[in-house]
């Protein structure tokens, strides 16, 4: 390990850890304290208020990443399936799994120095728990009661928006996490911490010296918003950024450039959702014909250059463990036959299905075009409508906008609880359950075979075909050569409190000889298959 200059920190203990160890390291390299991690994001606005987040949206995924810097949860889950104490140090439940008790860690302080109380936990979680669940304070912490066995509760509390915070009068939220927001540019409004959409908006997070979990290694994290993804990649190559998002269509190129690329488990589902208010999707034969026409393998392997996986289920394999049971092979001949059996008013070109793109971006447009192409091969006409941000995916549509029959939606898995995710999908996308599916859902809550029931419930939605999974995408990040201890959760959490930076002088030789001096090697714009 090289000897580095020590820097002064407020915390004496942290400074002492900087003392240079002997040249011959006894063990793995010890982390280095200090430095600023430069992060670039495509999103133009960020909300650090979990109360404002919309389940399943791509924006929520971005918000959650940054919120995890500021807030803690009651418990955490590691990569080995073990739950660890965070703000709760102990937990237990009754034999039925209906009553859960959590003991709160003592001595925890918010970033303003005030103490964490059970009331803060109650206020943070009471609107986030599933229906039929109540939370109350107890002598040493919290009690969560459910009307049905809640075997998934720990999964829900360890991920997603189950953050603990304190809402101040002006809407500012305080956290107990490893960082606090020290600077926002432009300054946020008084109503919330949400940044207004702005060009080159920046956030700076500073290390919380007093956090219960131990001071993070970084001094600060600087986040620049609204950076186009191609620019992010260029900045990474030029050493102007340390952590950037990488669009799926840029991953191949980035790897060819020998950039450090990380990918999560596939955590964003792209799917078609039929609009139940329109007459055409009411015909099961049309839904089946369209489903049979879709070449998911081609979408994943050719269109998305193997950076995605074909999807036949609502929950991915890594989340449910049983997704391999579902299969949606393309069968163009059968699709055509199904199409022929449809009423005459769906004749080719006369009455196309209108498909609204549920999110902006080249990828959605590309996928929408491929869906239209596949459908046309089965003599089903599909007309693309551009993304309209004001419209809610799968929800009521504006009277002024053309009414879509289909929505191409993107769904980001927010938690690692399969039950909670399926419930959120059903609720947010207004999926209608038939009697059998509803029975499976209710039975899953009350009996001791929740996993069998979860599968049965999902199977009903898949066989009903009001939602057609297309592909599932991982998220990708590009890392600077000096980023160390990058230990993200496979489901997408970045965990930046454990990251540290190698001194620049040590890695400069790598950069000098690489992209920094060879701009001609930078990827071209608009990389397409």
């Amino acid at each position: 390990m090289r000897c580095t200059k020590s820097r002064s920190f407020a915390s004496i203990s942290a400074a002492l850890l900087l003392l240079c160890p002997a040249k011959s390291a006894l063990a793995a390299k010890r982390p280095r304290y200090g430095g600023t991690l430069r992060v670039e994001l495509h999103a133009t606005s960020i909300s650090l208020d979990p109360r404002q987040w919309k389940p399943g949206s791509l924006a929520t995924a971005e918000n959650e990443k940054l919120a995890a810097l500021v807030y803690d949860r009651l418990i955490s889950l590691d990569e080995f399936g073990k739950f660890h104490p965070a703000l709760a140090t102990e937990w237990s439940h009754d034999a039925d799994g209906k009553i859960w008790q959590f003991k709160l860690r003592t001595g925890v302080k918010f970033s303003d120095g005030s103490a964490l109380t059970p009331s803060d936990v109650l206020a943070s979680l009471q609107n986030e728990l599933p229906p039929g669940t109540q939370i109350a304070t107890s002598e040493s912490g919290m009690v969560i009661r459910s009307t049905h066995p809640n075997s998934d509760l720990l999964l829900q509390l360890a991920t997603g928006n189950s953050f603990i915070y304190r809402a101040e009068r002006k809407g500012v939220l305080l956290g107990t996490g490893p960082f606090y927001v020290s600077e926002m540019s432009p300054a946020p409004g008084t109503e919330s911490l949400a940044l207004a959409p702005a060009k080159s908006a920046r956030l700076r997070f500073r290390a919380n010296e007093e956090t219960w979990s131990g001071r993070p290694f970084l001094n600060s994290i600087e986040v620049t918003l609204g950076v186009p993804q191609l620019h992010q990649l260029l900045d990474l190559q030029l050493g102007k950024a340390d952590l950037v998002e990488v669009a799926p269509d840029l991953v191949r190129k980035a790897r060819q450039e020998n950039l450090r690329i990380w990918s999560s488990s596939p955590n964003t589902l792209l799917a078609l959702r039929f609009d139940d208010k329109q007459p055409a999707p009411g015909d099961a034969r049309l839904r089946q014909a369209l489903s049979l026409s879709l070449e998911r393998e081609t979408m994943a392997n050719v269109l998305l250059q193997r950076q995605a996986e074909p999807a036949a289920s609502l929950l991915p394999q890594w989340l449910s463990g049983y997704a391999f049971l579902f299969d949606s092979p393309a069968d163009l001949q059968l699709a055509k036959e199904m199409r022929l059996s449809l009423p005459a008013n769906f004749a080719a070109g006369k009455d196309p299905l209108r498909m609204r793109l549920g999110a902006s971006g080249d990828l959605m447009k590309l996928l929408g075009e491929r869906v239209a192409l596949n459908a046309r091969q089965a003599n089903i006409m599909v007309q693309l409508l551009p993304h309209a941000p004001e419209l809610v995916e799968g929800g009521p549509t504006s009277t002024n906008a053309p009414s879509p029959d289909l929505h191409l939606i993107a769904w980001h898995y927010e938690t690692i609880s399969p039950n909670r995710e399926l419930e959120a999908l059903v609720s947010q996308l207004h999926l209608q359950e038939n009697a059998e599916g509803a029975h499976a859902g209710e039975a899953g809550q009350s009996n001791d075979q929740p996993y069998d029931r979860l599968y049965e419930r999902e199977r009903h939605f898949i066989e009903d075909r009001r939602i057609l999974p297309l592909v599932i995408l991982p998220e990708y990040a590009g890392l600077g050569v000096n980023v160390r201890n990058w230990l993200p959760a496979s489901w997408g959490e970045w965990r930046l409190a454990d990251v540290w930076l190698e001194p620049n002088e040590k890695v400069s030789t790598l950069q000098d000889g690489d992209a920094a001096k060879n701009p001609a090697k930078l990827p071209a714009a608009g990389v397409r298959p």
């Binding site: 002997a22 793995a28 418990i75 937990w91 999964l155 131990g214 890594w318 463990g321 599968y455």
Partner: protein, 346 residues
């Protein structure tokens, strides 16, 4: 039912009780936490899974057997070996569902998949043109303890102890009893454990939480200045005694004097050897390198031995012929203590 984490007693709450009672309580709770580590927890959990799954399968209407059992293990999953297939077969046969190797028999396919917190067993079979699916999920944490030590050629390693709690340092006992002392961080508290040669916990000493704050990159080493027991911490030394009736820990400010590179002797060569680990961060598995003492080029390693995670500590202070090494197994997340000895290969 108690979670394992419930056993992790908060140091802050425990500190209100008298020290002896606190230590005793911690001792018993820690025993509860660690005793399962010493038993074959994996086997029990897998046996349970086989029993429950067999019950579910046997309850499938009109499934009479014999069945041909096939097991597919998710490549990302914790390997379910042949013995588990035997367990499931035995359990199925208890429910009068015979298992055969006959290829014409009805197929019962069991898939094993890993999710972030669970191991999911999915059994599928076709009964009268109907696909029957039965699913069982068990916590992954119950299975995360198995990690047989790999064999080394010249550096021999033996797994001595493992814990789901963070092991900070380890030291052989000076009395040559074959036991060892271990520093662990548990729920933000620093504990020193005295283990006997079988790995059983004989004594626990809790460090005062007011003096010792376990941070993100907490560093501590066991030491024995002047025959006493101590833990060297950043800018501090904490002394304690294993033999006295009192388990009081006295901490005072002191310049941290960290261990020099670990030296180890070889039974067949007079030279002293240095044990060096790689310079990875905590994301990568390390290799232990054996370098002749005085060798200017650390690259001139005489032997290598791979470990299942980053090497966090090496200590040969008490015994020149062997060293104790702490690593975090990146597959299971457990912290493991290995004994390192040199074996002459001719």
């Amino acid at each position: 039912m108690l979670s394992s984490a419930i056993i992790a007693v908060s140091s802050k709450t425990a500190s209100r009780t008298p020290p002896n009672f606190s230590s005793l309580l911690t001792f018993f709770l820690l025993l509860l936490a660690l005793v399962p580590l010493r038993t074959s927890a994996d086997d029990n959990a897998l046996e349970d899974a086989a029993r429950q799954l067999a019950e579910k399968i046997a309850a499938i209407p009109n499934l009479h057997g014999p069945v041909r059992l096939e097991i597919t293990d998710d490549p990302n999953s914790i390997a379910v070996d042949l013995s588990w297939k035997d367990m499931l077969r035995e359990e199925l046969e208890k429910h009068h569902l015979a298992v055969t190797g006959d290829n014409t028999a009805q197929l019962l396919h069991v898939f094993v998949s890993k999710t972030p917190a669970q191991l999911v067993f999915t059994a599928t079979t076709r009964v009268a043109d109907r696909e029957e699916v039965r699913i069982l999920a068990i916590p992954r944490a119950a299975l995360a303890l198995s990690s047989p030590p790999a064999a080394g050629l010249r550096i021999e390693k033996q797994l001595l102890f493992q814990s789901s709690d963070r092991i900070i340092d380890v030291s052989a006992q000076p009395e040559s009893t074959g036991g060892m002392d271990v520093l662990i961080a548990k729920a933000g508290e620093l504990l020193a454990l005295r283990l006997d040669s079988a790995g059983a916990i004989k004594q626990i000493i809790a460090f005062p939480s007011a003096s010792v704050r376990v941070g993100r990159d907490f560093r501590a080493e066991l030491s024995s200045p002047g025959g006493n027991s101590a833990a060297v911490l950043p800018a501090k030394i904490c002394e304690f005694s294993w033999s006295g009736a009192s388990s009081e820990v006295k901490c005072r400010a002191a310049k941290a004097s960290w261990r020099a590179p670990t030296q180890i002797s070889s039974p067949c060569a007079p030279a002293k050897w240095k044990l060096l680990s790689g310079e990875n961060d905590w994301t990568a598995a390390d290799q232990l390198r054996l370098v002749a003492d005085g060798e200017a080029q650390p690259e001139a390693s005489a032997a290598f031995s791979g470990f299942p995670g980053p090497i966090l500590s090496i200590n040969a202070r008490q015994n020149p012929s062997s060293a104790l090494l702490v690593t975090q197994n990146l597959r299971t997340g457990n912290y493991e203590v290995y004994k390192i000895t040199l074996v002459c290969v001719n």
